[in-house]
């Protein structure tokens, strides 16, 4: 009998991820050419659950991180009598790095896991096969609405998160280090530049995309039983967090080396 083993070999996890990224790029290309089967209703549904429902937890964590940053930065700056710069530390930190990072982390835990569980469950119950049999690309139908929804809401979540984080530094600066409130706000505005803003927004978009891709990739390639769905969910969160931290590191080094 002919040796059939080469055709039976399955792609590795990394190959699967690359193939999935390629499929998403092709789907985005179809969308841009107006040939996608993306349903507007699906996108609106995903916008609802990714935006308004994720906002409170993003604001809460950003508030706490802003407060922590102010205390920590203030304690160090206080030693050299530079408490006035607490606002700079908090503003630049939140707007440029931590607003996006905290949003990405929250989205990974909240939505990356949910995407993986939903799509994994659909995979286990052959719902995705039912789409494929019809000729409906699951990337068009299931991944694009989730990816686009996250990309659309990410700037708002990052923006609100950063704003709340900066404001959270105010009571710490005023109460613990005696910085006048007006001076804190003035110094914050002075520290805020367009460069910090767009870099923060870019990073937030990147993290949101990574969360959506990790969740959907794991869900679509989950096994066909309940345990496999659970494993896919765990992998999605871990993968999203690792990708986010790696992207944060890479972009920070990249932008800093370019002088931004």
């Amino acid at each position: 009998m002919t040796d059939l083993s080469p055709r039976l070999s399955r792609p590795s996890s990394a190959q699967t991820t690359l193939i999935f990224f390629g499929e998403v790029l092709l789907a985005l290309g179809r969308l841009l050419r107006g040939r996608s089967r993306l349903q507007r209703g699906d996108l609106l549904e995903q916008l609802d659950r990714t935006g308004p429902r994720a906002l409170p937890i993003v604001l809460l964590t950003s508030f706490l991180v802003g407060l922590m940053l102010a205390y920590m930065g203030g304690a160090q700056l206080d030693r050299i009598g530079a408490q006035a710069y607490i606002a700079d530390v908090v503003t630049v930190g939140m707007v440029r790095e931590l607003g996006g990072l905290m949003t990405g982390v929250i989205l990974a835990g909240r939505l990356g896991a949910a995407f993986a569980a939903e799509l994994g469950s659909m995979q286990a119950h052959e719902e995705i096969d039912a789409l494929r049999v019809l000729g409906v690309d699951p990337v068009d139908h299931l991944v694009l609405p989730r990816l686009l929804a996250l990309l659309l809401v990410a700037p708002l979540l990052v923006g609100f998160g950063a704003l709340v984080g900066v404001l959270a530094g105010l009571p710490a600066a005023v109460g613990a280090f005696g910085v006048p409130a007006v001076e804190y706000l003035h110094q914050s505005l002075a520290a805020l530049t367009w460069t910090h803003l767009w870099i923060g927004q870019f990073k937030g978009l990147l993290y949101a995309a990574l969360v959506a891709l990790a969740g959907c990739r794991e869900g679509l390639h989950a096994g066909r039983d309940a345990q496999a769905v659970g494993e896919a969910t765990t992998r999605a969160v871990v993968k999203a967090l690792v990708w986010i931290v790696a992207a944060a590191c890479a972009t920070t080094v990249f932008f800093t080396s370019l002088g931004y």
Binding site: T2, R7, L8, R37, M122, H125, E126, L131, L134, G135
Partner: protein, 254 residues
């Protein structure tokens, strides 16, 4: 794209070899499906029945051989032809595979919304008609999770009929059902063939169902890793290979 001469087989498998999870499970499969017949694919658990079905509907690439709908090879044709071939069949998966985020009615209307020019009203009328056809007229607004096993299978058959295909694939239509519901499903399959002229290919473990509705049965042998018999159920029981006769006899006694 036309469906060709009505006397020609609807589907033909030539030298088909199929695999699952990195191993080959069946090879050398040669058979035809005639218009208006019910063909049952039978064999022991794990012999590759459902895997074969997944190859016939294009979900998996064969390791060798071809699946022909008319003159077109399902796995080696351009995208437009492939899309047209998909319109020739509907598929009922083993557990129904209804899209859980939608109501039963929406499950039926999604294919119509994507692939027809029907208005929303026409889509709803047609979906309600298909549900009535399978005896599930009251299920339009229900969520799939609210359906019993038998109702879910009926809803899945209705969805498979949504685009009015001439060929239906059914994966274990009576598995997990009580005898009453299993008999109802057999009656429905007979109705689809006799009154609506549909062709049905079904994978099943239910030997009573095979004798009740199948015109022919194809036996996949797990040990030989190929098909060892294709005939009417009665002929297989009377003069089929020994392993097939034993399989059918034990199945009927179970």
């Amino acid at each position: 794209m036309g469906t060709g001469d009505d006397t020609q087989p609807l589907l033909r498998a030539e030298g088909l070899a199929v695999g699952h999870e990195g191993r080959m499970v069946q090879r050398g499969l040669d058979f035809e499906v005639q218009r208006g017949e019910v063909l049952a694919i039978i064999g022991a658990s794990g012999c590759g029945k459902s895997t074969l079905l997944r190859h016939l509907i294009g979900l998996q690439q064969p390791l060798a051989g071809r699946v022909l709908y008319g003159a077109h090879d399902m796995h080696h044709c351009d995208e437009a032809t492939h899309d047209a071939l998909r319109r020739r069949f509907g598929m009922m998966f083993q557990a129904g595979a209804l899209w859980s985020a939608m109501s039963v009615g929406e499950n039926l209307m999604l294919p119509m919304r994507l692939f027809t020019r029907l208005s929303a009203t026409e889509r709803e009328q047609r979906a309600r008609h298909q549900l009535a056809l399978v005896g599930l007229a009251e299920g339009f607004d229900l969520a799939p999770a609210a359906l019993s096993g038998g109702m879910r299978k009926r809803a899945a058959i209705a969805r498979a009929l949504a685009l009015d295909p001439p060929l239906l694939y059914l994966d274990e239509p009576s598995s997990g059902l009580d005898p009453v519901n299993a008999t109802r499903l057999d009656e429905l399959i007979g109705h689809l063939r006799d009154d609506l002229g549909r062709t049905v290919v079904m994978v099943t473990h239910d030997i009573d169902s095979v004798f009740a509705v199948a015109d022919r049965a194809l036996f996949l042998d797990e040990q030989e890793q190929t098909m060892t018999a294709l005939d009417t159920p009665a002929a297989l029981l009377a003069q089929g290979p020994a392993r097939v006769r034993e399989f059918l006899r034990r199945g009927r006694c179970a």
